[in-house]
């Protein structure tokens, strides 16, 4: 059995046999030199292929989104128009003409600054391949993959549309985007889809038994009996449960005894922010900017400023928390030349330490970009990563004030927060609140758990020790959160724990006011909150939880509480 954690693209549960699919790109088969003696016949053939391709596309319309097929058709006609000019002028073969036009547009789209437009490159590639396949009368193999889950490195929109017509049940790809046409169609057709970057087709058998959990982004190959039973249970009532739950997504989350909880979303790039803004997120609790720093050079102040402004606009009038880049350590940055290879990156130069060390190259440009965006968008808030000492906060605030004066931006109302992920600062929140500059604390429970249990969750030899519901973690959270809230600091949670239904009543008992969750979990978490009686939980269940020995015991206690409140468990826990 193997469990893959991936990116949830389209929610739902599938339990089925998978089929590996390796695509061969016909574009690679087109010869670089190819001319014809009679261009008119070639144009005639191309037009015939065009009509055939359009017919093929239209046959999938009944099963899926009409407008996407319409767009593809427009693109097909457009590319053929240009191809015809090339054929007439240079006597090119139709396939070569198509390939050249594809390459021209592909180049400009791929270099586009917006991810969204880079995804359109996939569309143009898909239709170019469809045309060439039709020209050489070659059928794609997709037609045989009926009623199965398709597992592949990547799939084109035209292939996916065809597979839907054939009754595909689910999709797992190694590459892809959450806003690609494949993703959009998967969601609108209720076909569970997870992107697993770590996927290696060579590791899998040809037809493995597979479970896809599109809500939590999990793919389980050859599941064991326990997992199988659990998912069969969930799958039975899934559609019904999910539609009940989706109603909660757009409502406010109130416990049965009237406690209001803010539910925000974590997003890792602009495309996620774009989708999240339509799903009931009450704001962004964590905007991870690292994607901007994973290029071959530092992002310009302008590029940063543009990204921040865009996100702020997607969520106008709602809070948007931007975390300063948490780079270094296990997320090395190639162009920071003086980076020495560290023996212990987890405890090395990263987070706010790295920012202060490279303040001129990294921190100041980031703050400048942030403040320029903040000038126009007062809903932006700033979050400092991996703080371990109070002095780091003081230094950072000083820089922010200094640059605020330089840029004439009034920062007196700017909400600044810190990530609580290092145990030292968790135990010093009273000192953090003393300066009055920090307004909120956001608990990064993933790293916090690793530091508390001294375990690297990515190390397969010890990852079984990692447990963010462990009693030790809960005890530190209790101390830290209760102190923070008592002293007027707003308590938020952005780690995975916030998306875990079992953790919700516990976190709320510790005075958490805001949970920042994965966008697919918005409805589930709000649904859970709305069925909890917080005072009852605090008085009757919490005391036993704090005297358990480990996470399994914690889970048993909370699960019975959930059962007693008839709260269905859909999140991973």
């Amino acid at each position: 059995m193997k469990i893959y954690r991936g990116i949830p693209v389209s929610p739902g549960i599938v339990i089925s046999r998978g089929m590996k699919y390796r695509r061969l790109s016909v574009l690679e088969l087109v010869k670089d030199e190819c001319t014809v003696s009679d261009p008119d016949i070639e144009v005639f053939n191309l037009n015939k292929a065009l009509e055939k391709a359009i017919q093929k596309l239209n046959s999938t319309k009944f099963y899926t989104q009409k407008d996407i097929v319409d767009v593809l058709e427009l693109m097909l006609r457009s590319i053929v128009d240009e191809a015809i000019n090339l054929i007439k002028e240079y006597n090119l073969c139709a396939s070569l003409a198509i390939k050249e036009i594809y390459e021209k547009y592909s180049m400009s789209l791929r270099n586009s600054t917006s991810q969204l437009f880079a995804l359109r490159e996939e569309d143009i590639r898909a239709i170019s391949e469809l045309l060439i396949e039709t020209l050489i009368s070659r059928e794609t193999e997709i037609a045989q993959y009926v009623n199965r889950v398709i597992i592949c490195d990547e799939i084109s929109i035209t292939e996916f549309l065809e597979s839907i017509k054939q009754g595909v049940k689910g999709l797992v790809t190694k590459k892809g985007g959450i806003n690609s046409h494949v993703a959009i169609v998967a969601r609108s057709s209720n076909i569970p889809y997870v992107i697993v970057p770590a996927l290696n087709l060579d590791d899998l058998s040809q037809n493995p038994y597979i479970v896809i959990d599109g809500l939590n982004g999990l793919v389980i190959i050859d599941p064991g009996d326990d997992d199988l039973k659990r998912y069969i249970d969930i799958a039975e009532n899934y559609q019904k449960t999910i539609s009940e739950i989706s109603i909660y997504a757009r409502e406010r989350a109130l416990t049965t005894d009237g406690y209001l909880v803010e539910v925000l979303c974590n997003v890792g790039d602009l495309e996620e922010a774009r989708i999240a803004s339509t799903t009931g997120c009450e704001g962004i609790g964590l905007f991870r900017v690292e994607f901007l720093y994973m290029q071959h050079e530092l992002p310009s102040v302008n590029k940063l400023h543009e990204s921040f402004s865009k996100v702020a606009e997607f969520f106008s009038n709602k809070p948007v928390v931007i975390r300063a880049p948490d780079i270094g350590g296990d997320k090395p940055i190639p162009y920071l030349a003086s980076q020495v290879r560290e023996d212990n990156p987890f405890m090395g130069l990263r987070g706010v330490r790295l920012l202060l060390e490279y303040r001129n190259e990294v921190f100041k440009p980031f703050i400048k970009a942030f403040l320029s965006a903040y000038r126009k968008h007062s809903n932006l808030q700033l979050l400092l990563p991996m703080v371990s000492r109070v002095s780091e906060i003081d230094e950072s605030i000083e820089l922010i004030h200094e640059l605020g004066r330089e840029l004439s931006v009034d920062v007196s109302n700017l909400r600044i927060g810190i990530m609580v992920e290092v145990p030292s600062i968790a135990l010093l929140v009273d000192k953090v609140s003393e300066s009055g500059n920090v307004k909120f604390v956001s608990f990064g429970t993933n790293d916090l758990t690793q530091y508390i249990l001294a375990v690297d969750r990515a190390n397969p030899r010890v990852s079984y020790i990692y447990d963010d519901l462990d009693t030790s973690v809960l005890r530190i959270l209790k101390t830290s959160m209760e102190t923070a809230s008592r002293l007027g600091l707003k308590v938020e949670v952005c780690g995975e724990l916030a998306s875990n239904q079992l953790a919700v009543p516990i976190l709320l008992s510790f005075n958490t006011s805001a949970l920042s969750v994965n966008r697919t979990m918005i409805g589930v978490i709000k649904y859970t909150i709305s069925r909890i009686h917080l005072e009852e939980f605090k008085n009757n269940i919490l005391p036993s939880i704090l005297s358990t020995r480990n996470g399994s015991e914690v889970r048993e206690l909370v699960k019975s509480y959930m059962l007693s409140k008839d709260i269905k468990l859909l999140s991973s826990y």
């Binding site: 996407i68 767009v71 427009l74 457009s78 547009y105 917006s114 969204l116 359109r120 339509t278």
Partner: protein, 90 residues
């Protein structure tokens, strides 16, 4: 010749479906219609060219319309960009 500056407020800018609507609408008119972003101008009747222009949410574009039905084309396209597309994108 009519020119107009428009700021795009539909969530997905002028990508795929909104672009298709825009191009289909522009193609209904006889006038020559160009859409420009920064210094680049392309024909508004060609979907591939409009896509490579890369117009996203919040971007400002310039519409250049020249021909006998330029008034009607102008009003229709402006209405599409500023009212219809943002509504549909919700």
């Amino acid at each position: 010749m009519k020119t107009s500056t428009v700021r795009l407020f539909n969530r997905s800018g002028l990508h795929a479906r909104p672009a298709a609507r825009f191009v289909q609408t522009a193609s209904m008119f006889r006038s020559r219609i160009e859409v420009c972003k920064s210094d680049r101008c392309v024909s508004a009747k060609n979907i591939l060219q409009v896509l490579t222009l890369g117009v996203d949410f919040g971007d400002v574009i310039l519409l250049k319309i020249d021909g006998e039905d330029e008034e009607l084309a102008h009003d229709t396209l402006l209405n599409l960009l500023t009212k219809i597309l943002p509504e549909e994108d919700k």
